[in-house]
Amino acid sequence: MNKMRIISTIVENKPGVLYKVSNMFRARGFNIDSITVGTTEKTDLSRMTIVINADEPTLKQLVKQLAKLIDVVHVDVIDPQNAIYRELALIKLNAIETKSRLEIISYANVFDSKVVDVSTEHITVEITGTPEKIDAFIKIISPFGIKELARTGVTALTRG
């Protein structure tokens, strides 16, 4: 059965590495659900967090193919049970009437999210959390009308 897998890799921080990694997935016929890249505590290394939907044999093969790339220094499969994983979303909502403005702000409070921009027509909310939490929030507030939405994809670290 396919399920969400989080692969955390440490790669050389230099031009072209993201291309080499993502191109390997494409060339081998695997789909990436999300990929995030950022620097680590060491300036010459980056962390890539890759989320895929795959069965166990596919995951194993992917990890080996990733590890084979020379610019990939380390590969880990992260167990969501034993990890902190977060995604950021920015959601711009239609909010002309005062009633809906107040409702949006109260939902945002319940979900521990933040209003980061307000205009005469829109309210933009920032939320971080697991993808499930963000999905739930989007479901609740979508009746107000989502004008624009941006999600970052998951980044993760193991606990402890």
Binding site: V11, E12, G16, Y19, K20, N23, M24, A27, P57, K60, Q61, K64, Q65, A67, K68, L69, I70, D71, V72, V73, H74
Partner: protein
């Protein structure tokens, strides 16, 4: 020191003796430095052939072969050769010129993103942006190309980086944190494999191309003899085990012997050594494992384990080390299992198929030519092939006796590989005869290498099984497309004898088996490249044959 000078100096430090290449605008500075260097340059007529020559040189010498081209079209013409080397794990270092760094991304004249293009078909590629990076880049390239599972590495060198000067530090060694090729095999896996092999009733060994790369011939033979296990080879592994050995069943798979294909489906334990389980070797994967065969897979590349098939015991490491250790464990266990029943069965199937072929008539056929060729050539002759029917006939009918003397484009299946690869092989090994077994279609793709072969005095022998068609495609059209023959007729053009002569080579057309023998003897004595044109029937099919996508048991015998 300029970047170009540093490049040449770094190549010298890697003991490079020869470069196959073709100059152009973006690599002029390096060629200018080459003028004073003690490195032989072999001028090709098309960059694809430069890569194949470097590949042929690498396969024979087991050192990295080097090719060099200009930017843009020079670089893109290398692509087929790089992909060929990548699929067959051959170590080549390709150097391409590039437009100046200030022009990169501006669609400059003869600019192409060769780093982007070559990423999926190279083991690694690099583009130094400062001349001071060149010595380390070259060191890395050779280290990566030749260690672990070998493969092609590309260095793309912008023009200004060649021109500019910098203080150079030439490293003696290199360490790359994401690359650890020296994997020691797990002793417990080897012990488990030994037990499984010893308890097997019908063990078999499948030897792959990595045995040739690892130079593990003696170790393989010792293990096979100890176990009394018959050996099949993948097509890339052809000649990793002497084909006149009593335990040899020859190549398995699409290009395989029927006895190999039959018996592998009867084996209970398979020791697969340095094979990537290509569909061309084992047929349809589901059917292959449906026999219940237990698989022990030894390979240097962990990502090959369970890529295509589930395996029972994986052993990761250099197969020469693995086989040495395995033999030690087997000897220590001191169990000799009685294999009489299995070996009798093997002999029975072998005889059943081997007595089938009638080679008595006087008419020229491809199998007869290849069997005759084997008789005529010294045992250490290096043989390459083109791709297509010629390749399959060579697999089936040309026995390789001395391990590691047979090379073909087995992964990518590149028409035009054999002739330039033969030239590269001859450069690596000038004192043995080198023969390309060709078809007229394939040979036509890189026939312009005749110029290189003649002018650079690298004499090889080309035997063209000339059926005036694209033979393999024609065979499929006859067998699977109801004889709707389209786009296969080559009309016997060009005249291969005249073509050879036009380039200053020797061309001989033969009309009988006797003439063929004479021609080969003449070619072996010749100090110029000889093209032997052997007209054969365009209707001749290769049999047996495993249809792509079907199971080994469904091979078509005739």
């Amino acid at each position: 020191m300029s970047g170009a000078k540093a490049l040449i100096k770094a190549l010298k430090r890697e003991k490079v003796e020869v470069i196959f290449g073709l100059p152009g605008g973006a690599i002029m500075r390096v060629y200018d430095e080459l003028y004073d260097a003690d490195i032989r340059h072999i001028l090709v007529r098309h960059e694809q052939s430069a890569a194949h020559m470097a590949d042929g040189y690498a396969r024979v010498s087991r050192r990295a072969g080097v090719c060099m081209t200009t930017s843009g079209p020079g670089a893109t013409n290398l692509v087929t050769g790089l992909a060929t080397a990548y699929m067959d794990s051959s170590p080549i270092v390709a150097i391409t010129g590039q437009v100046p760094t200030s022009m990169i991304g501006k669609d400059a004249f003869q600019e192409t993103d060769i780093i982007g293009i070559s990423t999926p078909i190279t083991k690694y590629n690099m583009q130094p942006r400062d001349p001071s990076e060149i010595p380390l880049t070259v060191k890395k390239a050779f280290y990566i190309a030749t260690t672990g599972r070998p493969g092609p590495v590309l260095i793309d060198l912008p023009k200004d980086v060649q021109d500019k000067t910098a203080d150079m530090v030439f490293p003696d060694s290199v360490k790359i944190r994401g690359y650890n090729p020296d994997v020691q095999p797990d002793p417990s896996a080897i012990a488990k494999a030994a037990d499984m092999l010893l308890s097997a009733e019908r063990p078999m060994i499948m030897s792959g191309g990595g045995v040739i790369i690892a130079n593990a011939f003696q170790e393989l033979q010792a293990v096979a003899e100890f176990l009394q296990a018959p050996v099949v080879t993948t097509f890339k592994g052809k000649g990793s085990f002497p084909e006149n050995h009593p335990l040899s069943l020859g190549p398995v798979g699409m290009h395989g012997h029927p006895e190999a294909n039959k018996l592998i489906t009867e084996a209970d334990v398979l020791l697969a050594v340095a094979s990537r389980f290509s569909d061309r070797s084992v047929g349809r994967f589901d059917d292959f494992i449906a026999t219940g065969i237990k698989i022990i897979h030894a390979d240097i590349d962990p990502s090959e384990i369970e890529k295509n098939l589930p395996v029972h015991i994986p052993i990761i490491g250099d197969v020469k080390v693995i086989l040495t250790e395995l033999l030690k464990v087997l000897i220590k266990k001191a169990i000799k299992k009685d294999r009489t029943k299995w070996l009798e069965r093997v002999e029975e199937v072998k005889q059943q198929f081997r007595n089938r072929q009638d080679l008595g008539s006087k008419e020229i056929t491809a199998p007869k030519i290849l069997k005759k060729l084997r008789e005529l050539l010294p045992i250490d002759t290096i043989v390459t092939t083109e791709v297509g029917q010629n390749q399959m006939w060579a697999s089936l009918h040309f026995d390789v006796i001395k391990p590691g003397t047979f090379f073909s484009s087995t992964g990518l299946g590149t028409m035009g590989f054999g002739f330039p690869a033969a030239i590269g092989a001859k450069v690596a090994c000038p004192n043995v005869p080198v023969v390309d077994i060709a078809g007229d279609g394939s040979f036509g793709m890189t026939a312009n290498s005749l110029a290189t072969s003649v002018l650079e005095k690298i004499p090889v022998i080309v035997v063209i099984l000339n059926n005036s068609v694209l033979g393999m495609v024609a065979q499929w059209q006859r067998m699977f497309y109801n004889r709707r023959m389209i786009a296969v007729d080559l009309h016997n053009v060009p005249d291969m004898v005249k073509l050879a002569e036009a380039y200053g080579a020797q061309g001989i057309r033969v009309q009988s088996m006797d003439e063929f023998s004479k021609a080969v003897r003449l070619a072996l004595k010749s100090d110029v490249t000889t093209v032997i044109d052997v007209p054969i029937s365009p209707e001749e099919n290769v049999f047996p044959f495993v249809v792509p996508g079907s199971a080994l048991k469904d091979m078509v015998l005739a």
